[in-house]
């Protein structure tokens, strides 16, 4: 192998190896990650929990220990309705991305025959997800708007007498945009698990007399479950945290928990937003913990 030959050719003079105690290197290597996540993830979350017990007025916050923010948050009918609305979005988007994501991944893994073609098609699916979310959101405006492409086409074809109003700035638009934004997070992990299924299992199923459908439901789908679980974690947490899609695509007519938080933040009601954040965090982490009972991520990578 080329790499092996390079070792001798690489340097002229013999180098002395610096001897570290054998246990030390992994700690040194893990330190930067631990420091960054400690400083910019753990500490801020602790700060949020502290601040959620503080008092505040229109101008500033006062260090204190009051449960007022939680009482306000959990005691408000609006909060519960907003959670319900957010969970509704999460459920619908999850179901749609799961179904679409599975079939796309299944097509790529089992019906595309060459590895090169598989890579090209997978890349085609991936590229849009590396571009701006907001741009991809607003790109629906000329398509769904009152004078947009869909309405114009429908009216011209005589299917509807006048433009449909609920295409844009509605819950429908929110769900559509979220599916558009987040499906890849389902495709990639499912594709990954499908590619690791031993093809001889499928042949064995066929030799055993299973129909295509039986192979799918009894062999492929059970083996794809870990990928679905990881995709579910991505999609559910992204939808639960979303404020921009709901804001832009519903035109301010729908609400989500994160949007409620963002509005409190823009009114400088940080302790109220912090209490909201703490509740949302607990909800999201419980959901993720529930999914993690189904799958061990470390084994699936």
């Amino acid at each position: 192998m080329v790499t092996v030959r390079l070792i001798g050719a690489g340097d002229g003079k013999p180098k002395r190896e610096i001897r570290l105690p054998g246990w030390l290197p992994p700690y040194l290597q893990a330190t930067p990650l631990a420091l960054i996540l400690g400083g910019f993830l753990l500490l801020p979350i602790l700060m949020i929990i502290v601040v959620s017990f503080w008092d505040y007025d229109f101008a500033q916050m006062y260090p204190d220990f009051v449960s007022m923010n939680y009482v306000d948050t959990l005691g408000s009918w609006v909060t519960w309705k907003t959670y319900l609305n957010t969970l509704k979005f999460a459920a619908i988007v999850w179901l749609l991305t799961l179904v679409i994501g599975f079939w796309v991944a299944y097509f790529l893994a089992f019906h595309v025959r060459t590895a090169a073609m598989q890579m090209v098609l997978f890349l085609i699916c991936t590229v849009p997800f590396m571009t701006s979310n907001i741009i991809r959101m607003i790109s629906w405006i000329p398509v769904l708007g009152r004078n947009g492409l869909v309405n114009t086409a429908l009216v011209k074809a005589g299917i509807v007498p006048q433009p449909i109003e609920w295409l844009l700035y509605s819950d429908f638009a929110v769900v559509l945009a979220m599916v558009h934004l987040y499906t890849l997070f389902m495709v990639t992990p499912i594709f990954n698990t499908l590619m690791r299924i031993d093809k001889s299992l499928i042949e064995a199923a066929r030799d055993g007399g299973a129909s295509g459908w039986q192979t799918l439901t009894n062999v492929i789908i059970p083996l794809a479950k870990p990928g679905m679980a990881i995709g579910t974690i991505f999609v559910v947490t992204l939808v639960m945290a979303d404020f921009s899609t709901v804001q832009v695509m519903s035109g301010g007519q729908s609400a989500s928990v994160a949007l409620m938080m963002k509005n409190q933040m823009s009114l400088l009601q940080y302790p109220a937003a912090a209490a909201n954040a703490a509740v949302l965090l607990v909800v999201v982490l419980l959901m993720v913990a529930a999914i993690l009972r189904v799958v061990d991520i470390r084994k699936e990578l």
Partner: protein, 272 residues
């Protein structure tokens, strides 16, 4: 299997896949076309003539805010995030190959960084900086906020790579007398280089497009996505589409060059 006739299922799924790709790219191409709208054109079809008017409009600073400055900041920030993401993820990936105290906790911390809602991190870092008396800025608090988004992706990718990495190459190098640095530099690094470029691409694009975590952490000067986010509420001309077209083209160039480099490395390796 290769000689078999395609089953009917194939055609149905191929059609489904095509619709999916159209669904992904259709709306994007709509704003791409509309950004060439004539000076009197609106936000929707039909085209009212074609012009570069809205692209020109973009570069008049008074028209839509500081687009050039925002782009510069976003580019610099993404570049910083990319470098740190690659280095820190690689180191962490190497660390996770061995057992160390706290490994599981650190791994789940990285996963947590991915699942904790962005806006919570944004709020937390914003309030933390405020209480510590630091002024938030895109290159300090914003930088850290972006790293909490890009690092978990980088770490998970490195984790996946080293899971599939056979230690026998390193053993062979060591048997031939290579030091551990030489083993890393001349054996491990060349083998994982394409994946590292992938991590870098992820780091760059995720940071370049990130705005939920930047919301409270950017300080006085906006990054490009924040600028665009602000525009969605108050700009009602195709200048928004022109900006969208430009940043999307920029993303395409970045993705294209990264993929090009990876293909080039793999091809050269194949010939060697």
């Amino acid at each position: 299997m290769h000689t078999e006739k395609r089953p009917r299922e194939f055609y149905i799924l191929a059609a489904f896949f095509t619709v999916f790709v159209l669904f992904l790219y259709g709306p994007m191409s709509a704003i791409f076309i509309l950004s060439f709208q004539g000076p009197n054109g609106g936000l929707t079809f039909p085209m009212n003539g074609t012009s570069l008017h809205w692209f020109g409009n973009l570069f008049e600073t008074q028209a839509v805010g500081d687009f050039g400055g925002a782009f510069q900041r976003s580019f610099t920030l993404s570049f910083m995030v990319m470098i740190v993401t690659v280095v820190v993820s690689l180191l962490a990936g190497l660390a996770f190959r061995r057992k160390f105290y706290g490994a599981t906790a650190l791994f789940y911390l990285a996963v947590a960084s991915l699942v904790v809602p962005s806006i919570i991190i944004s709020l937390g870092i914003g309030v933390l900086f405020q209480q510590l008396g630091f002024a938030p800025a895109w290159y300090t608090s914003g930088f850290g906020a972006h790293l909490t988004w890009t690092l978990p992706f980088g770490v998970l990718i490195m984790f996946a790579i080293f899971n599939r990495f056979s230690p026998s190459y390193e053993e062979a190098a060591r048997d031939l007398g290579a030091t551990s640095w030489q083993t890393f530099r001349f054996v491990v690094l060349p083998m994982i280089l394409p994946s590292l470029i992938g991590v870098g691409l992820f780091g760059f694009t995720l940071s370049y497009d990130e705005f939920a975590r930047t919301l409270m952490t950017a300080g006085t000067y906006n990054t490009l996505p924040l600028e665009i986010y602000g525009m969605t509420t108050n700009v009602t001309t195709p200048v928004l589409y022109a900006l969208g077209t430009l940043t999307t083209l920029f993303s395409f160039i970045i993705i294209g060059s990264a993929v090009g480099i990876i293909v080039f490395i793999n091809r050269r390796r194949g010939n060697a």
